[in-house]
């Protein structure tokens, strides 16, 4: 492998990984708090992408800066996330993990099929938000778009980490999964914390949608399901419920995928899933996770 090919793949892998990491953050936050795989999270990306698809021409026509449509996507996604949580997830929260999982799956199916009914099954092209040149660096074509995408990802992750560690709501978010009853006792409104978690997770999905559309400007109604699954793999790989774990897992999955694609294009998905299986069997708590024994 030549250096330039390696470097190119590395950049591509980091780009892909940053997208997965952002999506994985949403999964990991929700799973960390209510122990539920939010299958619909991948579909929030789809909603974000469709929002951008429809708002970018509006913004351009109104003479406003195009990147404002990202804000629109963030708002729409947060609202959808909160609505899904309140309507579907809240009623089944006490009913056990199986009900929660099925409801999440049902919401994912619902959003996907609603999008198909509303927007059609035909893939749509999203207009570019950033139009940046490609520079040459050490003989490698380096689109500035990609660099910007990675930067946005890193900033979002760092911001989230600070938010979780330093702010009051962030601390509440960390305390709820540790001991829900004790959190209620010290005056944390658990329902509100969960709702805020969903809002933040969905907002991250909107940013991930922006990053995805910068790389692959295509929107389909089922774009979220497989990507969501892979991001979930990333979250599990890093240790679900742990925010740095999600970032690490996302970057790893992205890099693995791009490098496997280089050697065995038809098999890269299988390799990603095989890694997940191995990780779950060998160390179910993930790379950064701690093993917790089971109480009888």
């Amino acid at each position: 492998m030549t250096f330039s090919l390696f470097f190119q793949s590395l950049i591509n892998g980091l780009n892909q990984g940053a997208i997965y990491a952002l999506i994985a953050l949403g999964y990991t936050m929700v799973y960390g708090i209510i122990r539920m795989i939010n299958f619909a999270h991948g579909d929030f990306i789809m909603i974000g992408a469709y929002t951008m698809f429809y708002t970018i021409p509006l913004m351009a026509n109104a003479g406003m800066p195009v990147w404002l449509s990202v804000l629109a996507a963030i708002i729409v996604c947060s609202v959808v996330g909160v609505v899904v949580e309140v309507i579907a997830y809240k009623p089944v929260r006490q009913a056990g993990s199986m009900s929660a999982l099925i409801t999440a799956l049902a919401m994912s199916l619902f959003l996907e099929n609603l999008a198909m009914v509303l927007f059609g099954a035909k893939p749509q092209n999203v207009q570019k938000i950033f139009d940046l040149p490609t520079i040459n660096f050490l003989g490698v074509a380096l689109p500035l778009n990609v660099i910007l995408t990675i930067l946005i990802g890193v900033i979002m992750m760092a911001g989230l980490q600070i938010f979780i560690k330093k702010t009051k709501i962030g601390k509440a978010m960390r305390s709820v999964p540790q001991d829900r009853d004790a959190s209620i006792l010290v005056g944390i409104n658990v329902n509100r914390v969960i709702t805020i978690t969903f809002a933040i997770g969905s907002a991250l999905a909107a940013v991930a949608a922006l990053m995805y559309c910068t790389k692959y400007p295509r929107v389909t109604n089922d774009m979220g399901s497989m990507m969501g699954l892979k991001a979930f793999i990333a979250a599990v790989l890093g240790g679900i419920g742990i925010i740095p774990g999600a970032m690490l897992g996302g970057i790893l999955v992205g890099l693995i995928e791009i490098f496997v694609k280089l050697f065995a294009p038809g098999w890269y998905e299988a390799i990603t899933y095989a890694i997940l299986i191995v990780i779950l069997l060998v160390k179910p708590s993930g790379i950064l996770g701690k093993n917790v024994g089971e109480k009888v």
Partner: protein, 339 residues
């Protein structure tokens, strides 16, 4: 065998034959006119969907574990049986035996896959198991996309059209009967004990892993048989047919019908698989309606529409004849409601 059981077996077999004769009567007298063939096709669809959904219910309802990768086993069965039937075609075998051999091969291969997936995967529980089954199903799909013998990602076509409704009906009845007997056997009771409390089950000397893998394998076998019928009905297929969405669809049919109720699976699968055919113009909204029903069921009736209630012909007859003096027979026999 006690006399009571013999009688109820007989009653149930008669019930199955009666339903079959009803179908024969409907189809042979051409009540539906020119659309008879079309309706027969829908009934065949219902047959294989029933087998798949009932087999998934063994895992989800009776074992209480979550499998989101059932389409993987279905695809193994479908491809294996298609390959076997096209290899054996023209060897002078009668069609029915050819069909049966292909289905058995498909089921066996799916069963083997079930063992291979089950042994590692069933160490996990709950959400993680669900994700791992998805991963295995996706790996299976990618394999079919890359193997030349399965069409290498393109449509595999030219499969013999062997799925005749009359045959499929009997295969379906046999499959459901075996599954029902499995659930009510020692094995089934053990599996239910594991579902209720696996620690207690293990403490009382049950080999939890063995029974779990066993159930998973039985479910995979029947999924493979269902897949075989599917392949020989569709005559052409592509690996993307068996993606995550298909697994999710099967699972939603189990849940809506009722986890832990084969009656629910049969009625749910029959109804939900024929519904989109009846209302072609609304097929776009099918999954939308499914998902709404699914959320509703989860919120208002978490056990599914039928819960774990089973239809029993014996009990029904008893009720109708108001048999006095007989002691209450809670051991209702094999369910067979018809399609």
């Amino acid at each position: 065998m006690e006399k009571k059981y013999k009688i109820s077996y007989l009653i149930n077999i008669l019930g199955v034959i009666a339903v079959f004769l009803l179908f024969v009567l409907l189809f042979e007298t051409k009540v539906f006119g020119p659309s008879t063939q079309y309706i027969k096709g829908i009934c065949t669809t219902a047959c294989y969907t029933i087998i798949m959904v009932a087999s998934l219910n063994l895992v989800v309802g009776f074992m209480g574990e979550f499998s989101l990768g059932h389409a993987g086993f279905v695809s193994v069965g479908a491809y294996t049986s298609a390959i076997v039937s096209s290899a054996l075609a023209g060897k002078g075998l009668p069609d029915f035996f050819l069909f049966l051999t292909a289905l058995m091969a498909g089921g066996a291969m799916a069963g083997i896959t079930g063992v291979m997936v089950g042994i590692p995967a069933l160490r996990l529980k709950g959400d993680y198991l669900a994700i791992v089954t998805v991963a295995f199903a996706e790996i299976i799909r990618v394999c079919f996309c890359n193997f030349p013998i399965t069409g290498g990602g393109k449509t595999m076509s030219g499969i013999l059209k062997l799925s005749d409704f009359y045959w499929c009906y009997w295969i379906m009845a046999a499959c459901v009967a075996v599954m029902y007997m499995y659930v009510r056997s020692r094995f089934g009771r053990t599996v239910k004990a594991i579902r209720e409390d696996y620690i207690a089950a293990a403490a009382s000397g049950i080999n939890v892993t063995y029974y779990k893998v066993m159930t998973f394998t039985v479910a995979a076998f029947f999924a493979g048989v269902g897949g075989g019928i599917y392949a020989h009905y569709m005559t052409a297929m592509i690996p993307t047919n068996f993606n995550f969405m298909y697994s999710a669809e099967l699972l939603s049919e189990v849940i809506i019908g009722g986890t832990g109720s084969l009656t629910g699976s049969i009625l749910g699968a029959a109804f939900l698989s024929s519904l989109p055919e009846m209302t072609r113009q609304f097929s776009k909204y099918r999954m939308l309606v499914y998902s709404i029903i699914l959320v509703m069921v989860m919120i208002f009736r978490p056990g599914g529409i039928f819960g774990n209630w089973e239809f029993s012909l014996t009990r029904l007859i008893k009720k109708l004849t108001r048999q006095e003096g007989g002691k209450k027979d809670s051991r209702n026999e094999k369910t067979k409601g018809g399609v």
